[in-house]
C-alpha cells in the first residue's frame, strides 16, 4: 500500500515538535533560552490577536514591496540599456556585477548617515539590494534572446520601441522573472538586516519585533518572528513567483 506523499513529513514534524516540547518540559534545558513549541504558539496567538504581529508584518511588507518596486522599476530599464549600449555595459554593467556581490547590509551605515533613522533609509537599503540583481538578470536575458526572433520581428517591420516591447522583452521575460525573484530574495534579506540593526523611528517592523524580543529576553517572540519571516518568504514564492515561472515555462512548452 502506498501512503499519500504528505503523510511522512507530517508525522515527522509532529514527532519533532512533540520531542522538543517534552525535552523542554522535562527540564533538560533553560526554558528562557529555549522555549517549548507551545510557548511559541502562545506568543503567536497573542500577538496575532492583539494586532502587534499584523501591524509589524504590514510595516515590513509595505517597505519590502515599495523598495522592490522601485528597485525593479530602475533595474529593468537600466538592464535593458546595459544590453543595448556597449559602453553602458562596460561601465554600469560592470559596476552592477560588483555591487551585486556586496551584501546589502553593508549599505546600512551609509543609508543612516544620508537619510537618518527614517523610512527612506530602509527603502534605500532595500532598493540597493534589489536593483543590481535585476540589472544583471535583465542584461543577461536580453543579450541571450535568440537572434532568430529579432530577425523575424525586423523583417515583419518591427523596430525600435515595438521591437523592444513585442519581441525582445517577451522573449527575455522568463530570465527577467528569475532575476526579479532573486532581487526579491536579496531585498527581503537586506530589509531584515536593516530592521534588526537599526531602530527605524517611523515604523515598527518584523525585524524590530525580533530585536525587541532579544532585549526583553522573550525567546518565544524571537523564534516566533523567525518563523513568520520564513513563512512570508515562502508565501511570496508559493503564491507569486513559482506560479508565474511555471506559467511562463508551460505556456512556452519548456515544461509540461
Amino acid at each position: 500500500m502506498k501512503l499519500p506523499r504528505p503523510v511522512i513529513p507530517t508525522l515527522l514534524a509532529i514527532a519533532f515538535l512533540g520531542g522538543w516540547e517534552w525535552y523542554v518540559r522535562a527540564g533538560h534545558v533553560n526554558e528562557v533560552l529555549v522555549p517549548a513549541p507551545s510557548q511559541i504558539f502562545k506568543w503567536f496567538y497573542e500577538s496575532l490577536t492583539n494586532g502587534e504581529l499584523l501591524s509589524a508584518t504590514w510595516v515590513t511588507m509595505r517597505r519590502l514591496m515599495i523598495g522592490f518596486a522601485i528597485g525593479a522599476a530602475l533595474g529593468v530599464p537600466l538592464g535593458a540599456l546595459c544590453a543595448r549600449v556597449r559602453w553602458v555595459r562596460d561601465t554600469l554593467g560592470v559596476l552592477a556585477l560588483g555591487l551585486q556581490t556586496l551584501p546589502s547590509v553593508c549599505w546600512v551605515p551609509l543609508a543612516l548617515l544620508w537619510f537618518g533613522q527614517e523610512e527612506s533609509a530602509v527603502l534605500f537599503v532595500v532598493v540597493m539590494g534589489t536593483v543590481w540583481a535585476v540589472v544583471i538578470a535583465v542584461q543577461e536575458s536580453v543579450l541571450s534572446v535568440q537572434p532568430l526572433y529579432l530577425r523575424a520581428g525586423m523583417t515583419m517591420g518591427s523596430q525600435g520601441w515595438h521591437l523592444w516591447s513585442r519581441v525582445i522583452f517577451p522573449a527575455a521575460l522568463p530570465g527577467i522573472v528569475s532575476g526579479m525573484k532573486q532581487g526579491w530574495a536579496f531585498a527581503w534579506r537586506s530589509l531584515m538586516a536593516a530592521e534588526i540593526f537599526v531602530v527605524i523611528l517611523t515604523g515598527f517592523g518584523l525585524g524590530s519585533l525580533l530585536h525587541a524580543g532579544r532585549e526583553l529576553l522573550r525567546m518565544d517572540q524571537v523564534m516566533g518572528v523567525m518563523a513568520v519571516v520564513v513563512g512570508v518568504g515562502l508565501l511570496a514564492d508559493i503564491i507569486f513567483f513559482a506560479p508565474l515561472e511555471r506559467w511562463l515555462r508551460r505556456s512556452r512548452g519548456l515544461e509540461r
Binding site: L148, R151, G153, M156, S251, G253
Partner: protein
C-alpha cells in the same frame, strides 16, 4: 506580357558582392552576383554549403548590407528589413509567447491602414489556406514541426509582401511532411501569384518548386548556371521527368565543383 511595355523586375541584383571579416581573415561570401527576378516568379537559389546562398537571401531581406553592387526592389534600393520582403526561416521562428493566431497577426498589426477586423479576417484566411484554421488558439510548441512551418508560411503571407524569401524552410522536416508542404506551397504560389525566392541545398526540391533554378558554387559564391524549369504544375517530387532534370543539375554542379578544385 500582352503589351510591349517592359516590366520592371520585382528584384534586381547588380554586381552584388559581400565580404565578412572573420577570425580567419576576410571571406568573400558572394561575388559579383547579377540577377533579375521577375514579378510572380518562383526562383530557387541552389548550391552546396558555403556558396553564399543564405547570405544572398539576408542581403535581399535587408538583414545584411552589400559591400559592392546594388539591390533594387522594383526601383527602390534595398537598405533595411521591410514588410515588402518577408522571410520564412529554416527554423520556424514563431514567437513562443504568442498563440498561432497572434503569431500570424504580428506582421499584420504592423501594417498600417487596416482595421482590427480586417486583420483578423486576413489572418484566419491565411491560416485556413495552410490548413490550420482549427489551430488558431494553439501555442507553437503544441504543434508538429510541419504545422509550425505552415504557421510560419501563413505569417509571412498574411501581410501580403511583394516578395517572399524562404531560407531552407523544409530542411528540418521529415520527408513525408516535406512532400506535403511542396504541394501546399505550389498551390498557394499558383493561387496567389507571389514572387518567391527559395534557398536550398536540395536539388530535387529546387527543380520541383522553381520556375528558374540558379546554381551557385562556393568560395566565393558565384552564379554558375541558370536552368529554366518548364514542367507543368503541380509537380510531384517523385516524378521521373523531374528526377532526370534534377540529375542534370547535379551533374552540372559537380562539374563546377571539380573545376574549382582543379583550378
Amino acid at each position: 506580357m500582352s503589351n510591349d511595355k517592359v516590366m520592371t523586375p520585382a528584384l534586381t541584383l547588380r554586381n552584388v558582392t559581400k565580404r565578412f571579416e572573420g577570425a580567419a581573415g576576410r571571406v568573400t561570401a558572394v561575388e559579383d552576383i547579377s540577377l533579375d527576378v521577375r514579378e510572380g516568379e518562383f526562383l530557387v537559389l541552389v548550391g552546396p554549403s558555403g556558396c553564399g546562398k543564405s547570405t544572398l537571401l539576408n542581403l535581399l531581406a535587408g538583414l545584411e548590407h552589400t559591400n559592392e553592387g546594388k539591390i533594387l526592389l522594383g526601383e527602390e534600393p534595398v537598405r533595411l528589413p521591410g514588410r515588402d520582403r518577408l522571410v520564412m526561416f529554416q527554423q520556424d521562428a514563431l514567437f513562443p509567447w504568442l498563440n498561432v493566431l497572434e503569431n500570424v497577426l504580428f506582421g499584420l498589426r504592423l501594417k498600417p491602414g487596416l482595421t482590427e477586423e480586417e486583420r483578423l479576417e486576413s489572418a484566419r484566411y491565411y491560416l485556413s489556406l495552410v490548413g490550420l484554421a482549427d489551430k488558431e488558439k494553439a501555442r507553437p510548441h503544441e504543434l508538429s514541426g510541419g504545422m509550425r512551418q505552415r504557421v510560419a508560411l501563413a505569417r509571412s503571407l498574411a501581410p501580403n509582401p511583394r516578395v517572399l524569401l524562404m531560407d531552407e524552410p523544409f530542411s528540418a522536416l521529415d520527408a513525408l511532411t516535406r512532400d506535403q508542404l511542396y504541394g501546399d506551397i505550389q498551390e498557394i504560389f499558383t493561387k496567389r501569384k507571389k514572387t518567391i525566392i527559395l534557398v536550398t541545398h536540395n536539388i530535387r526540391e529546387a527543380v520541383c518548386l522553381g520556375d528558374r533554378v540558379v546554381l551557385l558554387s562556393p568560395h566565393p559564391g558565384r552564379i554558375r548556371e541558370v536552368f529554366e524549369i518548364n514542367l507543368p504544375r503541380p509537380r510531384r517530387i517523385n516524378d521521373p521527368e523531374l528526377a532526370s532534370l534534377a540529375a542534370k543539375v547535379t551533374t552540372a554542379l559537380s562539374s563546377h565543383l571539380n573545376e574549382g578544385v582543379n583550378s
